[in-house]
């Protein structure tokens, strides 16, 4: 058994799911540290299945999956669950926030499940909410967000309006939907994961909100070395990432994509992740 040649943060090779390959067939993906990659595909192309296989929720029938040099495909279910809890962050398309908990408590919940004490979890949750610039809503429950019932029903667990909604707490210009999206990202990042999987994380947001949230996400991913994989069918969302991997009928297709908001996001000297083990190339090449 050998490690991937260039040792990316996440390296998947030859994933087949299910056994007949009807959903995913020989899919490969390599993502480097601090890199933001978009998996772009139409509905039914296998994005959800790929996210499920990469995040360890489902077991691929064939193929290998390495994360930070660890063979995830060889771990027992218990160890895989523990690894996911500690090293993976997930943002689901239909994010659910429990209406009984404030955003700070909901953000710190993954830490509590991982065994972190209440005080430490609260501190780190507040830190991450601050990084996503929604610290003003930390003490609010989702139904208490101003205008939440009108604008972000799909995000919260209960869309009933608050009895006495406080106003003037959130920073000006941040809508509740964007607040909940950022809170979902903060909840996924609170463990400081190695890899963040985000399924349509900006759906329902305006272009301006998406730009702002993506800027924050890329910034924190870069500073913490987290590999971010965004699964989307929206081309505009995908072009905000550094690299695009097209997923067509269960197969990945490489296509170099010029990034409109190109900024040097990879730490200097970091090798480009490729599946073939070739020399790192300055051009960002998708597998």
């Amino acid at each position: 058994m050998s490690l991937p040649s260039d040792n990316p943060m996440l390296d998947a090779r030859g994933l087949v799911f299910p056994a007949d390959g009807s959903v995913l067939n020989q899919v490969g993906l390599a993502v480097g540290e601090g890199e933001t990659v978009a998996v772009l595909g139409a509905q039914g192309a296998g994005k959800s299945a790929l996210m499920s296989c990469l995040s360890g929720e489902s077991i691929a029938a064939a193929g290998t999956l390495w994360t930070n040099g660890k063979p995830i495909h060889l771990l027992s279910p218990e160890r895989r669950r523990a690894f996911r809890l500690r090293h993976y962050g997930l943002v689901h398309q239909s994010t659910v926030f429990l209406p009984e908990l404030t955003l700070a408590q909901a953000t710190g919940l993954p830490l509590r499940f991982a065994g972190v004490g209440q005080r430490a979890a609260a501190q780190r949750a507040h830190t991450w909410l601050t990084r996503f610039e929604i610290e003003g809503a930390a003490h609010l429950r989702p139904p208490e967000l101003p205008g939440e019932a009108e604008s972000a029903n799909s995000l919260s667990a209960n869309s009933l309006p608050a009895e006495t909604p406080p106003t003037g707490i959130l920073p000006t210009g941040i809508l509740p939907a964007e607040t909940l999206r950022r809170a979902a990202l903060a909840r996924a990042m609170v463990n400081e994961p190695l890899v963040l999987f985000a399924d349509e994380p900006f759906i329902g947001l305006s272009d301006e909100s998406t730009d702002t949230t993506m800027r924050i996400l890329r910034s924190v991913a870069r500073s913490h070395g987290t590999a971010v994989i965004v699964f989307t069918r929206d081309t505009r969302t995908a072009t905000r990432c550094e690299r695009i991997v097209h997923l067509v009928a269960g197969r990945t297709a490489a296509e170099p994509v010029p990034v409109a908001t190109a900024t040097p996001v990879r730490p200097p000297g970091f090798p480009v992740a490729t599946s073939s083990g070739a020399k790192p190339s300055p051009a960002r090449v998708a597998r």
């Binding site: 690894f83 991982a114 667990a157």
Partner: protein, 242 residues
């Protein structure tokens, strides 16, 4: 990662340890609804369970000799509105239960933990309601037993020892919680109820009835030659030749 939030050896990541009583406290925290709609639904469930509990408790407490078919049928009939109301209100809480489970799963809880915490509200309110209903019967059984006439089955049912009421109350509470869980189970969504709705379609019923009648007539005509009666033979003989 230890309880102070500091990182420990990498192998420690494979063995996460939750803090003591964290799941229990979280379940209790999520079991108490904070919103008006959820609070009303939970209180309806508790009231329904309280309505359904007394007949069940009486059936459990009654001596075997007093449990005739008529008395059991009567008690179950008395509890029928409560059973229906409990099932109805518990089914209404199915969506919130599933959402709570999904939210906990997204927050990193394992499936079993999320299921248990998500079901806490149902169990809590159904249990509280059943406990209240059973306890009310237990506390007033002496008065009720004296009030009913001697020939009534309830008179002998209420003569049970006070100590035997405790297991009856416990079993009733457990049954209410389990019943609420069953009624709110997502398995019911997999049943095609439209099949039963189609059975109640008046036009379909009419057509089916007509079809049956037609078949019956045809069958009768076809069956006629089987009767080799003298009258039948006489009719055949009298039929004009083709």
């Amino acid at each position: 990662m230890n309880t102070n939030g500091t990182l420990v050896a990498a192998d420690g990541y494979f063995e996460p340890r939750e803090t003591a009583w964290f799941r229990t406290r979280l379940a209790l925290r999520l079991a108490v609804p904070v919103e008006r709609g959820a609070r009303v639904a939970a209180l309806k469930l508790a009231a329904s369970a309280a309505l359904a509990a007394p007949p069940v408790t009486i059936v459990l407490i009654a001596p075997m000799a007093t449990l005739t078919l008529g008395s059991v049928t009567g008690l179950l009939a008395a509890g029928l509105p409560g059973f229906a109301a409990t099932a109805w209100t518990a089914a209404g809480l199915r969506e919130s239960r599933l959402l709570a489970t999904r939210g906990l799963r997204q927050a990193g809880a394992e499936q079993r933990t999320a299921w248990l915490i998500g079901a806490a509200r149902l169990c809590l309110f159904a249990g509280i309601g059943a406990l209240a209903g059973s306890a009310l019967v237990a506390l007033t059984h002496a008065t009720l037993g004296a009030a009913v006439p001697d020939y009534s089955p309830l008179h002998r049912m209420f003569a049970a020892n006070a100590l035997t009421w405790l297991p009856a109350i416990t079993v009733t509470t457990t049954l209410a919680a389990v019943g609420a869980l069953l009624a709110s189970s997502p398995l019911w969504e997999q049943i095609d109820w439209s099949r039963f709705a189609r059975g109640l379609n008046v036009r379909a019923l009419n057509a089916r009835t007509l079809h049956v009648r037609t078949l019956n007539v045809r069958t009768a005509r076809l069956d006629m030659p089987r009767f080799k009666t003298p009258l039948f033979r006489a009719m055949r003989r009298s039929r004009p030749p083709h």
